[in-house]
Symmetry: D3
Subunit: 328 residues, 6 copies
């Protein structure tokens, strides 16, 4: 979908992300759709639609559409001439949602490799309890790290966690006070709540539990269940201080109350986790916004609402007319 340009003819299948039946000024009905594949989404219109046709499908279904592209109010849209519902059993849902560009199997193997290097027996047993839980691993290796922000694609969470684990593994010798096992375990666990905070089978969204309780608290609950399993496995109680330190890393990793942490980081591993998490998330976000900005003529991206700033892409080979849309 990110290959389309103005005036292209289109004949492809898409996921229906949104559907509205509207009337134009003359009172004629038309369909306004949002269509999506794994590279992005686009608005689409089918003129002269009927209520009957509109009832044949819902958001979440797949449509094969024919039509052509057109620029409207500065954005590309599809003007459809034909639509047809597609049998979902013939569809690979993952073709319709954004994916990590990295090899998920290799990332998963790397995750196991780093986690199995943990030597503290309690922490080692704990991470194993997670790794042998197939349902958990399926979700953890599929979930995005967010809906719109950094790593917002399938396996984005895995990619994010493996990167931070790799960084931690490489630099932990520089800080002898840091407990390597605790840091690695905390990095692995910090976002586990996201596997249920988000839903990502068809479209990416927050679950009701995600919005009402949030992945920090959900992560602590998941940790508790596995700690009990782990104690059964080792035959020894999980050390209380270790458990407190892990819970603390989960609830404090956003770093400030303002960003939703009920506690500020108060241990060495918690503060390290907070900055490593941010380092990877922000580099990822900056890279994506700079890379994906379609406008070649400006040295700057548009204003990024989430970041509160525009980003500098490098001095453009534009026609020399300065960009007028920015006032700090």
């Amino acid at each position: 979908m990110n290959q389309l340009s103005n005036g292209d003819a289109v004949d492809e299948s898409f996921l229906v992300a949104d559907k509205q039946l509207r009337a134009n000024r003359q009172g004629n009905l038309y369909l306004h759709l949002e269509l999506r594949d794994k590279t992005g989404s686009v608005g689409a219109r089918l003129w002269n639609a009927s209520e009957g046709l509109a009832r044949t499908f819902d958001p979440g279904d797949y449509l094969r559409v024919k039509g052509k592209t057109q620029v409207f109010q500065g954005a590309l849209q599809l003007i459809l001439s034909h639509i047809e519902v597609v049998d979902p059993t013939k569809i690979e849902p993952e073709d319709y949602l954004p994916q990590s560009t990295q090899n998920v199997a290799r990332l998963t193997a790397r995750l196991r490799e780093i986690l199995l290097s943990i030597s503290n027996p309690h922490l080692r047993a704990l991470v194993e309890c997670f790794l042998i839980d197939e349902e958990f691993v399926r979700k953890f290796t599929t979930a995005p790290a967010g809906i719109k922000n950094h790593h917002a694609y399938h396996a984005g969470l895995l990619e994010h966690v493996v990167t931070i684990l790799t960084i931690a593994d490489r630099i932990v010798d520089l800080y002898p006070e840091l407990d390597r096992d605790l840091l690695l375990t905390g990095i692995f666990l910090h976002d586990i709540g996201k596997v249920s905070e988000l839903s990502y089978d068809r479209a990416f969204a927050y679950s009701d539990e995600g919005q009402l309780v949030g992945h920090l608290v959900m992560g602590v609950e998941m940790l508790r269940d596995k700690v009990e399993q782990s104690a059964d496995l080792t035959g020894e109680p999980f050390p209380n201080e270790l458990l407190l330190r892990l819970k603390h890393m989960i609830v404090s990793h956003h770093g400030t109350h303002e960003f939703g942490s009920p506690k500020l980081p108060m241990t060495l591993e918690a503060i390290a986790l907070h900055y490593l998490d941010n380092l990877d998330a922000k580099i990822h976000t900056f890279s994506r916004e700079i890379r994906d900005d379609p406008c070649r003529e400006s040295s700057w991206t548009p204003f990024q609402q989430n970041l509160g700033r525009r980003l500098f892409k490098g001095i453009a080979q534009s026609n020399g007319l300065p960009d007028e849309s920015m006032e700090p």
Copy 2:
């Protein structure tokens, strides 16, 4: 008006809240109106209008209109075929502005009943001075509590004040340190400035004085006038400390500088007023947003700008596709 759905024929009278004469792409003139009755407002268009026709009425007048409804850009609008100015003397203005669903006479009786249970003679005389002022009572029992926020309808202020008085009356025995008479009087007075801060005879709006001075300061001025009357009535000077405490309750009831109070609550009755005021206002706002949200398919209301959050309505019986529009 909140009964209308797509394609309905309409033949009714409305208040004109806004009027614009515009030209379409072909240069033909049309009228763009905002029409209102007590259940809500709607946009309306009359194609092929003339300047002559447009001059026959202004915002604030009433029109009888014929036409039919249509969905445009996701919202309902009226396409008018005929308009006709209505003689305002044949109109009940209150049919065209939102009303409390409660019985205003009964609310007013309840207000008197609670206030006349005040035993401190100075405070009792003071509230009587307000209650015998017919012009004040007319305004106080008509005014909304706001333009857009909580209780934004005729008699909304009365409903709000009577509810808080009722709560205070029921719980004051739990806190022996609270002065019942002072608390009830302060609740009654805290928003009296709103009777002049807002205008609400035809549409709801802020008066110039409301915007430049605000209902906190205006309330103190109104209190001062009645305190003089009250002293004349009782033949005794109104006790200075009592007056200071009442003024303080008025100027501090927003609770923080950020919300426009020049002083923080520094007495027991002032802090109680602040939380009771907020309790009722927020429960009212949450209830209305949850009740009035027209979208049945989502568990959540849209993002509420004033509240900085979405509200949870309960898990919807939707088609299972999660809502994608939310990123915290």
Copy 3:
């Protein structure tokens, strides 16, 4: 202890809250103690102490002391002439920590009465699971609501919760949209984490878990355990939406991120809980500061760091010289 005045002779037993051995300018050792009973605490000095004597007791032990009171730098202190360690088995610890002035048995009965009026069978079974847990009830009816802020005494938490339950019970009919059973259960549960966040057997303090994880997250964990018991009891799964709503009330009851809630209140019962909690806490704090301020000559309390303001006590019968220490 709050009966002491300058020059009194003292012969009583106290809890040692703090102990320091210091040297004066001449190099002579003396003991600096903080002594406490249920009415308050006082600094004390024993001149010419030896290291041997200092080793005979620790903070948390009880001492019988003789001496007399003296004003030093504006505060009362004890100058000790004799100290003697007391056998702790002869001590009632509750005589040495602040207590609720209300009857704890009656409060507990009132708690049961209100909670057993809940009609939703799942919520009713849930609260019963808590009420039949004797260890929980013992802690819940003993814990303070805080260390320094409101209700900072034994059974303070119980007193706080029963008061809010009573208010909710009296006013819930004013708001038909509020779910009475959900609101009462949420009020009961909102601070349960405090029974382990704080330690209060000898002195009041935060536990390590309290500081690292906090009572909001701890409360969710406690709720989860009881929900499992409750489902076993009823033989039916606890409804998921009900559980989410309860967890949400616990995690959001501080109202804003700034005060440590990871989520803002997004349901009607959650916003009601937040304001009722604050209403009671602030009225309690204001009452205590005004009542306990020992200075009769000023109309104002000293500046309250936690509240960011001074409180008005009423115009004092002082000698007319205004207080100079206040600059807003």
Copy 4:
């Protein structure tokens, strides 16, 4: 008093600003006083005092004291050998409170001169109503502009207002949109509430009304009274818009909610007033802190809590060791 240095013998009369009877470690009583004259204040101790002696005077009385100065904990204090109560009728109270260094009569004349240059008849009549009110003029020409901040001395308010009026008078021609009469009247009125917000006959303090209601609201009330007089005087009603603009200037002159204004400046004259007020106040504060800093060896004043910064006094001729006490 600001002439005293270490070891000086003292034999002078002072105002008693504070009095405390304390016991030392040996249980002997001593008096701890704060003594004041118009150049400043100093702590003083009289060893071996009796309760009888202490009862012979109160704060607000005057004492003749003998003793000598001594440096204690970095500050100068008086060690008294003799005290004696002074008959207050033989005292000029203004000798014991800080005074403007400018000629008050000349400042008052300048105030009248500028105000009487107002040409709008309503505003002219209004300011005359203030100027013929002798009690008001007495207070207005005596009051300090604050307790601790800028212009904290007798006639400080007058000095502040006359300076701003002079600036406005000199620059108003640069901004043709500014209404000179309105601006001058608003400057004159903006702080009139301070004549009752503060008490300054013996020591400087906030009155109860000042703390509970504040000089912004008090100023609006004072304005209303004079506007009625003024309308009687001119025989014409005071124009409503003019009154609103004046009230708005008073309530908005602190510029932001954070600094206690219930309204932001929304007129041209209100925004000009806000910046002129700040310009004079801040230049005054900076000048005083730089001039009064007694430490000659540092290029910097100590950290100013009110300003949130240290001030640069100019590179000192010190011994070259940089000041170590500053970490931003």
Copy 5:
């Protein structure tokens, strides 16, 4: 351009500020342009345009256009019937960008006059080094003071600086502690970085350096270069303390970290500069918004995003219907 009203025929030349080629619903191409002259800008459409025509010009070029005006969605636009590229050598660029209404030569003379009244030889030499730099003077007398905020027109920076210099010159005698020479020099230099932070030859914009480094730091760099020249000129080193004070005035003049100053004002001249700068900028902004608001029927301007408020224009002679669009 600000003379145009609905239905006017137009035959004039404009600067092309933006150009987009779009397709309408029927797939026909049209040009969407933003055209500009020194009085403002307007949107324009040319129906049935070809790609070939669109390639004949770019933003920054000039077009002669024929067409007529039309109201679309509440704003005026041009419907073009004919366009023709204009030879830029026949154009006076300054006719197409907003200009100061004051005489630039006279402002420049006034600038020199005030600056040459500086008596400190180092500061005098320094300002002369700027004034003899023709390229600098050309830019300084052409640059706007901003893109959208105050003084956003050619020579706006000069107008702003000359006004503040004039104010400082008139009031400096009121504050004997202020160093007149230092204050005037600092006012002159505070915004010099803007001559390169902004680009203003064809349209107004931020330069890349302006966005990445900012005019505060750029101004310090420019100052350093001239200080070296100045020392060469006088044959004496520029005094270090004087240079620090000037740099400090530049980097601190925004007054707070929040507004981008890396240092708070810590000298008398720096704090004076900060308030004088704001006084002029805010009076200018308020005046412009009140003067330029086209809506005669409301007493209020629309909400000003930059100022966080609406401005009061004076009570309107409207039809009495209050304005409904405001909720604080």
Copy 6:
């Protein structure tokens, strides 16, 4: 010095960091000194001092002192029996200021090694210009990174920069979009202003320039000088975009306006620098506070003003009495 405990006899040389001559209650003079060696500082008193003795030395001089230690108000102090001025030529100043525990020569070698791996010829030439400047290298390898915060010891800046360079070097391959040469150069340069912002020859302090201008702006000025040299060296102009990106990294590295950056990070390398800088600084600060806390009986450090929190040291083997001094 950090080896001292209560009652130790002392006979050593120290740097005098502060000197005050005071009088006690009996009017006898004594000296109050702050003494320092490289492990810390301590307060000291010499009773019965004379003015003559006090004049024989100043802060910045060295004293040999005899005396013994004593606990006063919870802190250790020295009671001196003898002092004697030491000939500074016989002193190694670095023995009296805190030092890095790492080998400075090895750190310097590591710095060169990493920087000389830069391949971009302009950046390579630029860093060489710094490395061949012996005066710069001497300062850069001596300066602390701060006065009180992280790395507040000689060579602390070098240690900090080498650590971040090492981390960047190890992880840059994980982010292909990051420009390694630019990132390494920016890390090297980000704090160069500190070599003149601080003074650290005898005691650590801010220079006047450091306080008035700050190390961000000073660093840009230093960069400019070296860029000119570098262009001379290579015979090619230094690329403008590269220079802008380096300046931007320096001015934005504090990350937010609140922490004194005039610009937010807007490039990939600037955001990476910001988080790497913080990661190292915060891990360093947490490690030091946890390691240096002398109190073995508490699981927690005291409240850290700079961090706004206490830090968790691990569950202590204390006597079980919880710490009472913490209220969140």
